[in-house]
């Protein structure tokens, strides 16, 4: 591009539009983060469903793979930050949204693990118990431990939240539609037996992150090829 070339007013306006468009479309996420989380959360959700339905165990808490995924995510984030040539205004805000999402997931997990135990302690102190009683007397009464019913529905709702924010802010339709579908899955999960929540949660992870991740990856690789 030459510097001192005389421009007409229309040429100036066209140049401005062209450059703003170039800046807007220049940067694509690598998609690896979305693929990673879409994979681990859907695998953990589906395996939890199969373990509960077919009464088998993989021998360890499958949700530990989600915890372990934090390590590659940190490495991905550091690498992406280093390779990014441009920083947009919305980047910091979106990073904050995803950070808050991560904290909320751990907080909900803490709630899930803590509340039943604390409730059991209170019940024991007060000297009563929860019992499953069959009205037709077909089975004997069973003592129940306190539990948070259908809690995975709330996780599905949480999956949709940062995805929707990202979809709106980045005008990225796969995440926008993915999040809307995930909210639908959340509502659906409120009406199903709790084991099906895991199936719906797995589907939400695929729709919210895995599929948008594949699309982002393709866009990113296409952009990289242009530069070769």
């Amino acid at each position: 591009m030459a510097d001192e070339k005389k421009m007409t007013e229309q040429e100036s306006l066209d140049l401005i539009t062209n450059m703003i468009q170039k800046a807007k479309s220049s940067y694509h996420e690598t998609g690896i983060g979305s693929l990673l989380w879409g994979s681990v959360v859907s695998i953990a959700s589906f395996l939890t469903y199969f373990q509960r339905t077919y009464e088998f165990s993989v021998g360890f808490d499958i949700w530990l793979i989600v915890l372990a995924a934090i390590i590659p995510q940190v490495i991905i984030s550091v690498r992406e930050k280093k390779s990014n040539q441009v920083k947009k205004y919305e980047d910091d805000a979106l990073n904050a949204v995803w950070l808050v999402f991560g904290i909320s997931i751990f907080a909900l997990n803490f709630y899930q693990k803590t509340i039943p135990e604390v409730t059991a302690g209170i019940i024991e102190q007060e000297g009563w118990q929860m019992t499953k009683h069959y009205l037709d007397g077909s089975k004997p009464d069973e003592i129940l431990k306190p539990f948070a019913p259908s809690l995975y529905s709330l996780f599905i709702m949480l999956y949709a939240f940062p995805t929707l924010v990202t979809g709106i802010v980045k005008k990225f339709k796969p995440m926008l539609y993915g999040a809307i579908i995930a909210y639908g899955l959340f509502i659906w999960s409120c009406f199903t037996r709790s084991e099906y929540d895991w199936l719906l949660g797995g589907a939400a992870a695929i729709i919210c992150w895995f599929i948008p991740g594949v699309i982002l990856r393709r866009k990113y690789l296409a952009q990289q090829q242009k530069h070769v």
């Binding site: 591009m1 001192e4 421009m7 229309q10 140049l15 450059m19 170039k22 040539q85 441009v86 947009k88």
Partner: protein, 96 residues
């Protein structure tokens, strides 16, 4: 009475640089060079002119042992860009 077009901005490469920077928080020199298809030498000169006018901020640092130049538009630059676009619109209204 027509506003005079800002001579700092009414130049192809400088306008391209400012138009790129207006939509982002900051951008590396290499990014600007790639998007404007300018030579490094020419771009350096124009970036320096924009910096001298107070329209952009230029930060030089080392990243992984390589020098890295980052450019960012200033509030004065945003104001000048807005005034330039308004002036352009005025010309185009009359012309169109």
């Amino acid at each position: 009475m027509f506003k005079e077009l800002d001579p700092i901005l009414h130049s192809q490469l400088r306008l391209a640089v400012v138009s790129l920077l207006i939509g982002v928080k900051e951008a590396e020199f290499t990014f600007i060079r790639e998007k404007t298809n300018a030579t490094a030498g020419n771009l350096s000169v124009q970036v320096q002119k924009l910096k001298d006018a107070g329209y952009i901020e230029v930060t030089k640092q080392f990243k992984d042992n390589y020098p890295q130049t980052t450019c960012k538009i200033t509030p004065k630059g945003i104001e000048a860009f807005e005034a330039y676009v308004q002036a352009l619109q005025q010309y185009l209204k009359v012309g169109g």
